[in-house]
Point group: C2
Chain length 198, copies 2
């Protein structure tokens, strides 16, 4: 009988290590072997926990979803600050994060959407859901901002959320080639000085 705590630990370590490597190198460019070598478990372990590489990749997307959910908690729950200030802090936090990361990697959900949506219907479906969840988080804050009179009362919060996400994903792409903060600053400026100004 398998030690359940131990096995969950191994599964989680494979997912977390795999997620890090995939975030840096892409899904197709990451081999199962290099993940297992880094975790230090034999190949059999992988096929004990995952049906195949795609099944593993889908669980990595779940992992990225949970990570993003954790990141949005403060923005969604700490209602002691005004909504737009919380949204600004959220993006400022990401700008600091990518500065520390040397302007690499980008958004794992955006990356995998770009890479995998045409290649795997299962990935496509799961990534669509992941982007929709992001849009839900932003929509919630934008709705609060609208109700607080911080943005135009006519603003369609869902469409605006999707536009902000698209601009962010594109800014991250350009950040990867410029290797500086300017693309993210440009996004911030347009979102908060133009798009969300009344």
């Amino acid at each position: 009988m398998i030690d359940e705590r131990g096995s969950t630990g191994t599964r989680e370590r494979i997912i977390k290590t795999g997620a890090d490597i995939i975030h840096r190198k892409g899904f197709n460019n990451t081999g199962i072997k290099e993940i297992l070598d880094e975790v230090g478990v034999p190949k059999g372990s992988f096929y004990f926990y995952f049906k195949n590489k795609e099944d593993f990749g889908l669980q990595v997307v779940d992992h990225f979803n949970r990570q993003f959910e954790g990141m949005t908690r403060e923005m969604l729950e700490n209602t002691s600050s005004p909504p737009l200030a919380r949204l600004q802090r959220f993006f400022k936090w990401f700008m600091d994060f990518f500065t520390s990361a040397g302007f690499t990697c980008g958004c794992p959900v955006g990356n995998l959407s770009q890479e995998m949506a045409d290649l795997s219907p299962a990935f496509r479906e799961k990534l669509q859901e992941a982007i929709d969840r992001m849009a839900d988080a932003y929509s919630t804050v934008l709705l609060e901002a609208r109700e607080a009179g911080e943005v135009s009362p006519e603003m369609d919060v869902k469409e605006t959320a999707y536009f902000i996400i698209a601009g962010w994903h594109g800014a991250l792409i350009r950040m990867k080639v410029t290797k500086n903060i300017e693309p993210l600053e440009n996004h911030y400026r347009f979102v908060f000085e133009h798009l969300l100004s009344k």
Copy 2:
């Protein structure tokens, strides 16, 4: 002695076929062998024309640049229409294109930037240049729009061009997961009804 016309033809066919496969599947996920099999030439041909896969990939980026340049010609040169109408036609053309393509692939320069910028300094540099060229094309039209009084006289055309490109790249990412036109329509609406309205 090599027949120069013949050899150029082979080189061009390898680049064009490779570009199509890379556009669909990504760079790391495309094998040299499958390109050569589709073109119908032996492996030796590849290494006659290209130092290695990276050198080939960089020439594929040049190919995409030339393609994009061809696409912008009408927008930049047919000054019989007002600038914003030309920019609108440009995006409408792309929306029709991606509709015909079943909402697949996306922007090859955006895709390769996302995939390769962290993995190859040579790609990174060339792709940064490619995005800058795109921004130059949009900036030119936006400057004309500003001079024609179609947009705010305070608009920073270069920053606006980069923001439009980022939103477009992100919209194409979401288009790949939704498999419908809505993300591109959302981009169009925000760009032309909000961002570029006076």
